[in-house]
Amino acid sequence: MGIAEGALLCGPGRLVTTGLGSCVGVVIYDPTVEVAGLVHVMLPASPSAETKAPQKYADTAIDWLVGELVRAGASPERFVAKYAGGAQMFQGVRMEALRIGERNVEAVAQELAARGIPVIGRDVGGHQGRTIGFELPSCALTIRTARGETRVL
């Protein structure tokens, strides 16, 4: 799954997105019916609610994901979320532009809280890229960095 895209998984399988830098990969799922979705969020806020690229912005991406999950038979009261990413890849330079990762993470946290979706795992910040994979039915979110570290949430 590519940058600024979204995908849904119904039943056993795996959702993967590679090379998250300042972007944030957000997974929302309903463990009971085994339906999960992943969005690769690139920016904190959409320019308008009618954006053509809802998966790209934290606010519209989460709305898009919730809508798709409900359509696939998931139930909002059982939703839980895990997310990872939001690194600052380039260090040593003080540049507002490079803080976008941090702002993406704040936006994702806020948008999930505003919809009452509990967060049960997150791996954010730092200065390394991440490749993430979410698996059903285990509901494990595996995070791999370029230096070969692996974490499972």
Binding site: I3, A4, T18, G19, G21, S22, T51, A53, A87, G92
Partner: protein, 206 residues
Amino acid sequence: MNPYELSGADLDALREFGNIGAGHAATALSVLLGGVVRMSVTDARLCRFAEVVDVVGGSDAMVVAVYIRIDGEIAGSMFVVLSLESADRLVNGLIPGRQPGEPYGELEYSALGEVGNILSGAYVAAISDLCGFRMAQSIPAVAIDMAAALLDIGLMFGSGEDNEVLLISTRLMHGGREVQAHFFLLPDFESAPKLFDTLRGQMPSG
């Protein structure tokens, strides 16, 4: 309106613009390294995100990238992207007595940053002269990681809701094919209309 509705003439003008910038950058690099620096024909096109990272080997390819932010009348992101092998040969050429394959320390990072600085400085000076733009470049930032993770900030600033960016890219080669560097300029989405207005004004047949 989508500022990225471009004609063939627009892309030709952009390619020429990139060629002039990269030509100056190549000259600067040959002064720094000694020997001949060759450059590929500059490619200028509208790209989906995945195509940008494919140019340097795919989203999870490990690369060295130098990032330079351009501000002023035209804003954008500049990247110098090297494979790990090319970067290692480059720093070996710049740091006397360094053993190939040694882990990177402060010296290696600052040498790579300086290469980015010299390349982007020559490029920016050439195009600001040509077009009369006031442009300023940030100090360079260096990182080694997955290509998609490093390039994503350029994609953020360069795209609108169509998820496409304008990529102006040139490959520089030093020696045989020992050191190869990709030079990327991604103008900010908001800067594109002004850039094209200027380029159209300069191209008599435009």
